[in-house]
């Protein structure tokens, strides 16, 4: 029923805590029938799209129903088109006679609609709803929920609802289409898991903890360079190859030369880099991240771009080979298989991330300090016996960054700047997690930055803020907390004035991490460990 969905939306909007949100979503998923709960999940993860319905469709409907001046005054006050329309929609004369539509019905009707028929179809359903129902329907139909729920949060709630591991949810999710009937059947124990081995699907990445102790025995751990590109997964299954970014987004069209180059049935984990001496790299080696940035976020790539800034992948790991899942084997075995595979891969597009020989951590620290390659971000330490598991697991992989005073934060609030930047959102407040975001941790603001970006980045950020606003407080906008910043700073101190308990000195936005999902941003403990 639309009513349940509408109630969920409103409750989510009024519940600030992540734990509260998780509880609301998981209860809803447990208590709601198929296919409505699947469509809700799709709406929460922005997987709903009705090409026939645009924001203009709603404005057009309202233009036939209310004076334009009254519409504009109302819209300006309310601040949201869907909500304004829901409030202004004329109550039907013989209200409440027709039952409220279900989400399933809405989907059927809207996916059949054309640009021409969509307004009538939508109006017919709006007539059958009350105010919260109309709001929910418009939000659902236009695919713009903007209630600050990340796809990750929805997946964690799904896992919590049915008592299944979130890593498995991540794994099976990919390749499923709304309303996710197979996923619900698996989670409720009525069917085996959806098969993932027949399609070129994304597999969740294994992640590393920041290194906190130098008491590491290199007999147990192997050291390997950590490269400063973007982490990717290349999947070749059933003759099709796809490239996925860290968040599981497909980026094959941005890097066609990589997708075209893998002709072995394998799933590979590596760092995407671009080649070039022009950008400060070694001959034939990797260029700096700045060079790679020219290739990011593009839907299509020109021939010139392909020639001037060619991409390649420095491989870290081998997950699946010829249908054989290697993820539960120890790292050393996977590494051996990967090394054996290298001669079969196109050397122009793939090379191997070298391990570093060092007898102990002191020697490793020296090597780390003397590394001059601009594309080196630090060192990885991987337990030689570690299986490849989704997410971060204690004791298995560590990252030891070369520049320690860098931290990944999530954008929380934005405010317009002053002077020549006054028309742009250019003052940003960002936060870190006060614990495990999947276990209900919250973001706490840790700092504010005003500078450190180019004009192009500024325009991007301005657009991002406008499109991801969930609330306005005077000149300040609260965003949906989806964008990660790598923040550089000079030092960090304990501070009683800040709720987070720490304050950074001279924080600046070093890099916009569009490739990184918000729940993978750093935690406060990481920042606290750097306190001087």
């Amino acid at each position: 029923m639309m009513k349940r969905f509408a109630t969920l939306l409103d409750n989510l909007l009024l519940t600030p805590s992540r734990n509260g949100k998780l509880e609301l979503i998981s209860t809803y998923l447990r208590e709601t029938a198929d296919p409505d709960r699947g469509w809700t999940l799709a709406a929460l993860t922005s997987a709903v799209d009705f090409p026939a319905v645009k924001a203009g469709t709603v404005r057009g409907l309202m233009a036939d129903r209310i004076d334009p001046v009254l519409w504009t005054l109302s819209r300006d006050f309310v601040g949201d088109t869907a909500e304004t329309a829901s409030l202004l929609w004329p109550e039907p004369e013989h209200g409440g006679q027709e039952p409220q539509p279900t989400l399933g019905e809405v989907v059927t009707a809207l996916s059949r609609a054309t640009r021409a028929s969509a307004p009538m179809v939508l109006a017919g359903m709006l007539d059958r709803l009350d105010t919260p129902g109309r709001y929910a329907l418009i939000k659902f139909a236009t695919g713009a929920l903007r209630i600050g729920i990340s796809a990750r949060l929805a997946k964690v709630a799904f896992a919590q609802a049915f008592g299944v591991p979130v890593d498995e949810v991540e794994e099976y999710w990919h390749g499923q289409q709304p309303p996710y009937a197979d996923l619900f059947a698996w989670a409720t124990g009525t069917a085996p898991p959806p098969r993932t081995d027949l399609l070129p699907l994304f597999r969740p990445f294994m992640l590393a903890h920041p290194l906190e102790t130098e008491a590491i025995d290199l007999a147990d751990y192997v050291a390997e360079w950590k490269w400063d590109g973007i982490r990717v997964q290349i999947v070749n299954v059933g003759g099709e190859t796809r490239v996925y970014s860290r968040g599981g987004d497909e980026i094959s069209t941005s890097f066609p030369e990589i997708a075209d180059a893998l002709d072995v049935a394998a799933v590979l984990d590596g760092e995407l880099l671009v080649r070039g001496t022009a950008q400060g790299g070694e001959a034939g080696g990797a260029a700096s991240f700045n060079a790679l940035q020219q290739r990011l976020g593009r839907k299509s790539v020109s021939k010139t771009m392909l020639a001037d800034v060619p991409a390649f992948v420095r491989l870290y790991d081998l997950l699946i080979l010829e249908g054989e899942d290697l993820r539960d084997r120890p790292w050393s075995e996977r590494r051996g298989r990967l090394e054996a595979l290298m001669p079969c891969l196109n050397p122009e597009r793939f090379d191997l991330s070298q391990t570093i020989a060092a007898k102990d951590m002191a020697e490793l620290a020296e090597i780390r300090a003397s590394a001059r390659d601009a594309a080196i971000e630090g060192i990885m330490l991987k337990h030689r016996q570690s299986p490849y598991v989704a997410g971060r697991r204690a004791g298995l992989w560590y990252k030891w960054k070369r520049e320690p005073l860098l931290i990944d934060c999530v954008l929380m609030y934005a405010q317009r700047g002053s002077g020549k930047r006054s028309s742009f959102y250019s003052d940003f407040t960002f936060g870190c997690w006060n614990g495990d975001p999947d276990a209900g941790a919250e973001l706490l603001p840790v700092g504010k930055a005003y500078f450190g970006f180019t004009d192009e980045e500024l325009r991007f950020l301005d657009r991002h803020v406008r499109q991801h606003t969930v609330a306005k407080y005077g000149p300040v906008r609260e965003t949906d907390r989806s964008l990660v910043f790598e923040v550089a700073f000079d030092s960090v101190h304990l501070s009683k004035r800040h709720k987070s308990g720490v304050a950074m000195r001279f924080p600046r936005i070093n890099r916009i991490r569009q490739d990184k999902p918000a729940h993978e941003a750093d935690r406060l403990e990481t920042l606290r460990a750097l306190v001087t």
Binding site: L14, D67, V69, F77, E83
Partner: protein, 334 residues
């Protein structure tokens, strides 16, 4: 003669009745003031003479210590205020003692509504529709998005939330004058017969209402009540106390806010409340436009709120109207 209204002046500090040298709801102390009701944006201390209903004067005496120069105007009884002007106070249905003021002079009838509403309220006399030539109306909720739902439904929501969270207490933010007593009276009408607990700032006004004959049932101060015994209780507090340190003495309070602004999600989020209750003591859009149609004046002046939209409505309905820019009116009493 009708249609001149030269004897009524809209001044930034209030409405001036020129021949009587008197003001309606002036924002600064004046020699002669007519006061529509006790809210702070209408009633102020320091006037030489204050004409108001007996209940409004009682409220002003408690709130602002106004005792000197008070002159009672009973509902429906014309009072000569000098300069050939008579003033008749008529019920406005806003809060206890609230009045519209009908001014008559030189054959012209002018009504100043003060704040008003048309929906029923057990704590005050209902608005009376009275014909006039010039209607000076409030417009706090003068946007078509404002349609207040029935208060019964909102009270039912409050009681349902209480029932769903037996270990918590429901903390209702409501303005101390009018809204709080109306919510309590409606809770009683809905069958809630247990004590209602009050924040210290609510006590005086609630007791004044009871003294003036409004039934509110068993009211108790929340101060000193052990935390554990407040589980499942309903506590009233001023909006400013909702997210204040003060509320830590309560068992995991579920915060509710009773206000017409709760119709809009952005406002709900700014308040940070869990349970928005759309309860207003002002006319909503439909009441504002219906009232103009019912009263059917030759001319309408609009003040106190969102004037533009109501002005536009008058224009669309071929009604002569203008917006006044008065200062000092705030959202204190929504």
């Amino acid at each position: 003669m009708a249609g001149c209204f030269t004897w009524i002046k809209a001044d930034p500090m209030g409405i001036r009745i020129v021949p009587a040298d008197a003001w309606v709801d002036p924002s600064r102390p004046v020699e002669r003031a007519l006061v529509t009701h006790g809210h702070a944006d209408h009633a102020r201390g320091g006037h030489g003479r204050t004409v108001a209903t007996s209940q409004t004067l009682a409220i002003m005496s408690v709130r602002y210590g106004v005792t000197e120069g008070a002159q009672i105007a009973e509902y429906h009884e014309p009072v000569a205020i000098g300069g050939g002007v008579t003033a008749t106070f008529l019920p406005a249905g806003h809060v206890l003692g609230s009045a519209q003021i009908l001014l008559q002079h030189a054959g012209e009838r002018v009504i100043i509504t003060g704040d008003y509403k048309r929906s029923p309220d057990p704590t005050c006399a209902p608005f009376t529709v009275t014909p006039c030539d010039l209607f000076i109306t409030e417009a706090t909720f003068g946007l078509p998005v404002f349609r207040h739902p029935s208060i019964r439904d909102e009270i039912a929501k409050l009681l349902a939330a209480r029932e769903a969270h037996p270990a918590r207490c429901v903390l209702v933010g409501a303005y101390a004058l009018g809204k709080a007593q109306r919510v309590i009276a409606e809770l009683r009408a809905a069958g809630w017969d247990q004590p209602v607990y009050l924040h210290g700032a609510m006590e005086t006004m609630c007791h004044l209402y009871q003294d003036l004959g409004v039934e509110l049932g068993d009211l108790r101060p929340v101060a000193g009540v052990p935390k554990a015994s407040l589980a499942g209780a309903i506590v009233m507090c001023p909006p400013s106390a909702l997210n204040d340190r003060w509320s830590r003495r309560l068992p995991d309070p579920l915060t509710a806010m009773a206000s017409g602004w709760m119709r809009v999600r952005q406002r709900v989020r700014q308040r940070g409340v869990e349970l928005p209750l759309v309860i207003s003591d002002h006319a909503d859009w439909d009441e504002l436009t219906t009232t103009i149609t019912d009263v059917n004046p030759a001319e309408t002046w609009i003040t106190h709120g969102r004037e533009e939209a109501l002005l536009r409505w008058c224009e669309l309905h071929q009604r002569k109207a203008r917006a006044l820019a008065l200062t000092g009116y705030e959202d204190e009493d929504d």
